[in-house]
């Protein structure tokens, strides 16, 4: 192999322009240091896992977006109201937990006894509660987004959700997920 001189390396301006343009395109498509989660589950243990990832990632300096959809919306509820709801919507409001720490566990719930046991074991072992982690996530700037379609289906009004939550659809999720290094469905 022969050594090239600087003169031989001189690049045609058209080639350089093409390379620069391709580089800019590729850079724009590079993922951000971002983590995107979908929380579909309304179960305490799964929400705990999602919140541990969200707070951990935010603490590590990653941008975090969490999309709450279907049963997951329970995590964002403030005070459910029955006013203005149809019968089925009322039933959904009554049958779904209205607080994160009242969610059932996904296994061995036994009418809520399993949840209480898990929560007491978590306390004994100094694991942060879902409420603490949720508060921490907000403090660390984790972006919370509620899925409008599932809110609509379940008859959940914006006013029933806590403040500081954005609402969006699948494109909002994909817009963040496509730029993420990590995207998870919980």
């Amino acid at each position: 192999m022969t050594t090239m001189t600087t003169a031989e390396l001189a690049i045609d301006p058209a080639v350089r322009a093409y390379v620069d343009q391709r580089l800019a395109e590729l850079r724009a498509r590079q993922p951000d240091d971002r983590v995107t989660l979908v929380v579909f589950s309304g179960e305490l243990d799964r929400n705990l896992a999602a919140l541990v990832i969200a707070t951990g990632a935010a603490a590590m300096g990653l941008e975090v977006s969490v999309f709450y959809t279907f049963w997951g919306l329970s995590a964002l509820k403030r005070q459910p109201t029955l006013r203005g709801k149809g019968l089925k919507e009322k039933l959904f409001a009554l049958m779904t937990p209205s607080r994160l720490n009242r969610m059932p566990v996904s296994k061995m719930n036994f009418g809520g006894v399993g949840r209480l046991m898990l929560q007491s074991m978590m306390r004994e072992k100094q694991v942060a509660s879902v409420d603490e982690l949720f508060a921490m996530a907000r403090q660390l700037g984790v972006k919370l987004i509620a899925c409008t379609m599932s809110m609509d289906v379940m008859g959940i009004a914006r006013e029933e959700l806590i403040d500081g939550v954005e609402v969006g659809g699948v494109a909002t999720f994909l817009g963040d997920a496509a730029r993420s290094r990590v995207a998870l469905f919980v």
Binding site: D33, V52, M60, L62, Q126, A128, L133, M136
Partner: protein, 82 residues
């Protein structure tokens, strides 16, 4: 040892040692060192993992020890670079 600002994360479980350390390290001047004492054995790999995604901090040292209550501790020294 004593001259470093210290975060006591003993007894705390994942993800709290990282969360607490992050809060504290952003409060110290650039170039300074933060010392984190944890009892969670997972914190050893966790701090290494954090450094993989961060350009603002570096992990100077990790060492195992024991506290006055006889608990096994993991001490992490982090420097704020930016």
């Amino acid at each position: 040892m004593a001259e470093y600002r210290t975060v006591d994360a003993r007894g705390l479980k994942c993800p709290m040692p990282i969360v607490k350390a992050k809060k504290e390290i952003d409060a110290i001047p650039v170039g300074e060192v933060l010392r984190v004492i944890a009892t969670d054995p997972g914190s050893v790999l966790d701090f290494q993992g954090w450094m993989k995604t961060s350009t603002s901090y570096e992990l100077l040292k990790q060492e195992e020890g024991q506290d006055e209550q006889g608990r096994k501790t993991f001490v992490h020294l982090l420097r704020r670079k930016a």
